[in-house]
Symmetry: C2
Subunit: 142 residues, 2 copies
DNA sequence: TTGCACATGTTATACCATTACACAATGACA
DNA sequence: TGTCATTGTGTAATGGTATAACATGTGCAA
């Protein structure tokens, strides 16, 4: 038998600290922001954060936002199927929301297949302004 | 009247050099790779590259790949409608291809609208292996 | 015990991008 | 023609992101 292959059932201390920091923040954080928040808990070097993030990403408990160089804790209702996920990122308040949509997923898979491309993962990040940050010229509808 | 607003019809020397470097490369290049290639032409600092890239991005002649921190020259047949573009990025050979698909674009727009999100731009990057890099266990079909 | 897999700690380094300031080229306009 | 605003350029310094390399510790199993 191999060593105690780690699963999401048991996070190490560092992994838990990083995940907590992300969860409490409620929004995306850069690895260095996480590091700063965890200095009181003994973190000293970026690698401590990046190693924990690597595992959390592997477990699907954290997502990486490529266009922000930042990370968010997963808030997806059912954290099972993370094949294709889209994110909305508000340019004004920084709020990030997750969207899972089978139509987009299927269409992207189809496009890839048609191009002879073996799809392994997809990054979909939508930039714009969230509902709360709209200029909202019409205030009638809250 | 305002100053001589630059258009894609006339690129400056630096912009042309950067675009040529990207076009000749045939694949994605980082800003620092471009810098290294252009040292013989007088480039000395990253900012010379980034400033040229900013304009080329604005003109739609270059795309930025968020998941690679790299840039590619646009090879899209009709360089007019770059609203929504997807890229396939081969993890083995690094080849990048552009895909434009109205179905995905419309669906993403629809998803955003449903969420009360004012979509401004979208990033879609597909990772996997291109046709040439497939393990291709079955050689029957070329 | 020994060996292995895995997590961790630490330092240094590489890579990516922007700020700040100075200067040059261009065209608009009085 | 001279002045002005705009835009492009050059350079140095800095900030932000991510990894390489090496050493150490810990728990489990042969
Ligand atoms: Zn999620
Ligand atoms: Zn917002
Ligand atoms: Zn293009
Ligand atoms: Zn390939």
């Amino acid at each position: 038998m191999n060593g105690p292959a780690q699963t999401e059932n048991h996070l190490t201390r560092n992994q838990s600290l990083v995940l907590d920091a992300l969860s409490k923040s409620g929004g995306p954080l850069s690895a260095y922001s996480i590091l700063d928040q965890l200095r009181d808990h003994g973190f000293r070097a970026p690698l401590q954060v990046y190693r924990a993030l690597d595992k959390l990403l592997e477990f699907g408990m954290v997502h990486r936002l490529e266009s922000l160089n930042a990370f968010v804790a997963c808030r997806h209702p059912s954290c099972d199927d993370h094949e294709t996920i889209a994110f909305t990122i508000c340019d004004r308040c920084g709020q990030v929301a997750e969207i899972s949509d089978d139509t987009v997923a299927a269409r992207l898979q189809s496009l890839a297949t048609d191009a002879g491309f073996a799809l392994k993962s997809s990054t979909v990040e939508l930039r714009g302004t969230c509902r709360k940050c709209q200029p909202s010229s019409c205030k009638m509808v809250q």
